[in-house]
């Protein structure tokens, strides 16, 4: 499995979000420049998993997010941590929407390969 989430971006709108199933997993939001602005997790406290999380993003837009991509993953907690760590390694900072995460307690990864933003 690739360390970075390298799926294509999808426009964040009602019809696209409605197609997302209620699985647990992780998701990323990007702004119009393709910059990742938030890395989120749909954990088991959500009633409708990834779709519920993205619906909230639609209802309360933030950070200029206009695109998303998801990964269904039952290991959602470790995968979320890994995506944040990889972003921190690639960009030397966290996405604007994740700035409440303390980089010192997040942990450090130094993965190989190229930066996975698209």
């Amino acid at each position: 499995m690739a360390v970075r989430l390298e799926k294509s971006w999808i426009d964040l709108n009602i019809s696209n979000v409605a197609k997302v199933a209620g699985h647990l997993g992780v998701y990323e939001l990007a702004n119009k420049n393709g910059e990742i602005v938030y890395i989120g997790v749909a954990d088991a406290t959500s009633n409708f998993g990834l779709r519920e999380k993205l619906e909230r993003e639609l209802q309360h837009p933030r950070f200029g997010a206009c695109r998303f991509r998801v990964e269904i993953n039952m290991a959602y907690r470790t995968r979320h941590t890994e995506l944040l760590q990889v972003y921190l390694y690639d960009q030397n900072k966290l996405p604007v929407g994740n700035e409440d995460t303390n980089p010192k307690t997040l942990g450090r990864l130094r993965p190989g390969g190229s930066i996975g933003q698209s």
Partner: protein, 388 residues
């Protein structure tokens, strides 16, 4: 052998049981079912309570500030501490002091100052880097990470470590590397700081569990000062082996705690759930499952206490700890599986802790030495050295 509890043990068990019931279970209601940590503020509140109970730092020797308890009491606490959703891998979310790298108690005075005491004060996190892609159960033969002397003052390490918990968040840890030829005398333990160039945690290894997740470490021309050798050059295997034998006993007991809770839940559910006009508990098929649970738990409990008692008496307990680990992990898995079956669909839902215990208990049959390796250890001890 008499395993009735002393007055002090009864008090401790009651105290820990109340702590889990009053502090941990309500807290857990608000957490994600796969959560493995609480906020630093809540952890501080919890540890204040365990310190007040005199039970903080369970695996820290009394001379370093840990509680003066024997292994039997440690096992009894482990059984109680693990009776909640996250209890198998994160008993009470680390409120009793969490894991310690026991090997650092063998460090030199200056190493203790730099590495042991900050760990004991909770200021620094540590990891234990033994297993490699080539294997973890037979480190004497499988370790391929190589350390080569560079002048008088340094060693240069190269290799890969796999299944290493907490390396991504650690400040330093132990890395076992081959400094000599094949076999146990060729392995040396190094204290390695994670900020040093050449130390790379390359990925999280996603498994059935989220708690205490594993990582992979790539070590690429990592320069380590000679003074960071722990123990003697070539003495790494003995250091690693001692840890594994000692930790196996409370590790086994933690399996048992979750099994006890799962069994309790199954008994209660069987009494309230009706099918075809009668309670599940009235069905012989269910009764036999509950009976098998009860027998599996009792047998495992006696065996883990036997291992602990031998350890406390200073007797050899390698065989007993292997038997305890084998039986506790295998029996607890069966108990959780049967309890899930009794709960039907609810058993596999994240509404209940059973599904998490099932996943984590499956790993438990492999972690700290798979069941087959425990059998190998037991066979070696009862047949003799011919299996070496």
């Amino acid at each position: 052998m008499d395993f009735s509890l002393t007055e002090e043990q009864t008090i401790i068990v009651d105290m820990v049981r109340r702590f889990v019931r009053d502090e941990i279970l309500p807290l857990e209601m608000g957490l994600d079912p796969d959560a493995d940590e609480v906020s630093p503020e809540i952890l501080t509140q919890l540890t204040e309570k365990t310190k007040a109970m005199g039970l903080y730092g369970l695996d820290t020797p009394p001379e370093y500030g840990g509680p003066d308890i024997d292994m039997v009491t440690r096992v009894l606490i482990a059984i109680e501490c693990s009776q909640h959703r996250a209890g198998i891998y994160v008993p009470c979310y680390g409120a009793f002091g969490g894991a310690r790298q026991a090997q650092l108690f063998e460090a030199t005075a200056s190493q203790k100052e730099k590495y042991l005491y900050p760990m004991l004060r909770g200021e620094k996190r540590v990891f234990f880097g033994l297993s490699e892609p080539s294997g973890g159960s037979d480190p004497a033969r499988s370790i391929q990470t190589r350390a080569v002397r560079d002048g008088n003052d340094h060693w240069v390490l190269n290799g890969t470590k796999l299944w290493i918990s907490g390396a991504d968040r650690a400040d330093y840890g132990l890395v076992f590397a081959r400094t000599g030829g094949e076999g146990r005398s060729g392995v040396t333990a190094f204290i390695v700081e994670t900020s040093w160039p050449g130390f790379n945690v390359s990925r999280v290894v996603h498994t059935l569990r989220s708690a205490k997740y594993a990582t992979e470490i790539q070590i690429d021309n990592l320069r380590v000062p000679h003074e960071n050798i722990l123990g003697e050059e070539g003495g790494g295997f003995a250091i690693a082996n001692d840890r594994l034998a000692r930790q196996r006993v409370p590790y086994a007991a933690e399996c048992l705690g979750a099994a006890i809770k799962a069994h309790e839940m199954a008994v209660e559910y069987s009494k309230i759930r009706e099918t075809f006009g009668a309670s599940l508990s009235s069905r012989q098929g269910i009764q036999w499952m509950l009976v098998e649970n009860e027998i599996d738990i009792r047998a495992a409990r006696l065996l883990v206490l036997d291992a602990a008692a031998k350890s406390d008496k200073g007797l050899p307990f390698r065989t007993e700890s292997a038997i305890a680990k084998l039986v506790c992990s295998e029996n607890a898995f069966k108990v959780v599986d049967r309890s899930m079956q009794i709960h039907g669909g609810l058993g596999v839902a994240k509404d209940l802790p059973l599904e998490r215990w099932f996943r984590e208990m499956r790993i438990r049959r492999i972690g700290e030495g798979p069941s087959e390796v425990q059998k190998h250890v037991i066979a070696r001890d009862i047949i003799g050295s011919s299996l070496r």
